[in-house]
Symmetry: C2
Subunit: 252 residues, 2 copies
């Protein structure tokens, strides 16, 4: 019975422990992590569990296993940063590399205006409901920036807002991509919401984006999405990189 209460807590998996150490610089690309048997002893679990966790790291492109030798940390560029699991780890266990932040933001700047534009053409009433509900949540959890729980809710709604727009394209690839990007987006909005920025302005930008989609004005939706992301970039102090990349979509 009590064990059922402990279960949800879940042991911080060895994967998470190792990720944490890797991101902290304890093990760097090219280094070898401790061998399986040492990990077994250290965490007092069996080898099957260790190997299961190590496999997660392999799937994420984070380590490379060499038979009879050990598990080597791969170069950062090899990591599967579009793997939801990997991005989730990055979100929780690292102040991610600013360069990675910038590149993810640059990618969103490339992509989201188009997604918004497509959504403006194809969104159904049901899609609008989802977008609107997320927007309501944004407004409700706006003020109490002091409470961590409120902040978390606000970020969740922000993510849900963007996710609903992806879904409104009615293209499975975009929809799936939104799932993949979810942790990345969460990371970016969390960080940007912590920054000191006018919340009312941000809310207004989101509102304009939503309205453009509702009124089926693709070009306005395009611009509105750009504005929202520009706000995020500004909050993160990444305007430079963002603007230099933003040019890739200012051609309309």
């Amino acid at each position: 019975m009590t064990s059922s209460l402990n279960k949800p807590v879940a042991r911080p998996s060895i994967a998470e422990y190792l990720i944490s150490d890797i991101l902290a610089g304890q093990y760097r690309p090219g280094d070898f992590v401790p061998r399986e048997l040492d990990l077994c002893e250290r965490f007092a679990i069996n080898r099957s569990a260790v190997r299961s966790d190590l496999r997660q790291l392999v799937d994420g492109g984070i380590i490379e296993r060499i038979s009879g030798h050990g598990s080597k940390v791969r170069e950062y560029s090899q990591w599967h940063i579009l793997d939801p699991q990997v991005t989730d780890w990055l979100t929780r266990y690292a102040a991610p590399n600013p360069d990675i932040q910038r590149q993810i933001l640059a990618f969103r700047l490339d992509v989201e205006p188009y997604v918004a534009m497509t959504a403006a053409k194809r969104a159904t009433a049901r899609d609008l409901v989802a977008i609107e509900e997320a927007f309501e949540g944004l407004g409700q959890n706006l003020r109490n920036a002091t409470c961590p729980e409120e902040r978390r809710l606000h970020s969740e709604c922000d993510v849900a807002f963007h996710e609903a727009i992806f879904k409104a394209t009615h293209n499975i690839v975009w929809a799936q991509l939104s799932h993949i990007l979810r942790p990345s987006i969460y990371m970016l909005v969390s960080m940007s919401n912590e920054s000191a920025l006018d919340p009312d302005e941000s809310l207004e930008q989101h509102r304009q984006l939503m309205e453009s989609i509702r009124l089926r004005r693709p070009r306005e939706a395009f611009s509105a999405a750009q504005a929202v992301l520009a706000g995020t970039a500004k909050a993160l102090g990444l305007e430079d990189g963002a603007s230099s990349l933003g040019c890739s979509i200012k051609h309309r």
Copy 2:
């Protein structure tokens, strides 16, 4: 010694067997696949191996495991079609759903012109080498459409061509996305290359795309990429869906 020769052949994994049966309609969404012990007996392997393979299917979002009950096939919409493994299975074991083809093509129509445009702005000499090498390969394996091996090579080069352009954006997210899209792109180019279409025209379209990137003409690259994809759509007989979606990028 001989075993080392047999290894590369590899047993068709249970995952592949099940996928094949699922795609053939043997097991449909909502159905349960045979239980683990039956699969053990059927393929004469141990349960660990079976479970390992089933886990692959779970990772791909294809089945859902219910403790104490069985493994249920999930709805197609739940499948992780951006997972390279999944798309690879789809490529090899199914004449994929035409609707999925259309949506993937629609996605590429949304995305690749932008990727090409960005590549035209940022491509280095080294990037151009990769693009050019792939293009050379395209030309060399053009004529002998009779030989399956030549056809395979041609498709490989086509994929490499697109992949090199993704890489030339110098954005890790686009680069990773190219890896994820790789099997999908391979599937599409293979099918389009089997269709009767003027190979010289296709080659010329690729050449124009390459030249636009070399000469740093983003807007031309944008149009050229559209042309290449339009050719693919035409070859697949998907012009309708493609054009209805293509409007999402005809706004320049």
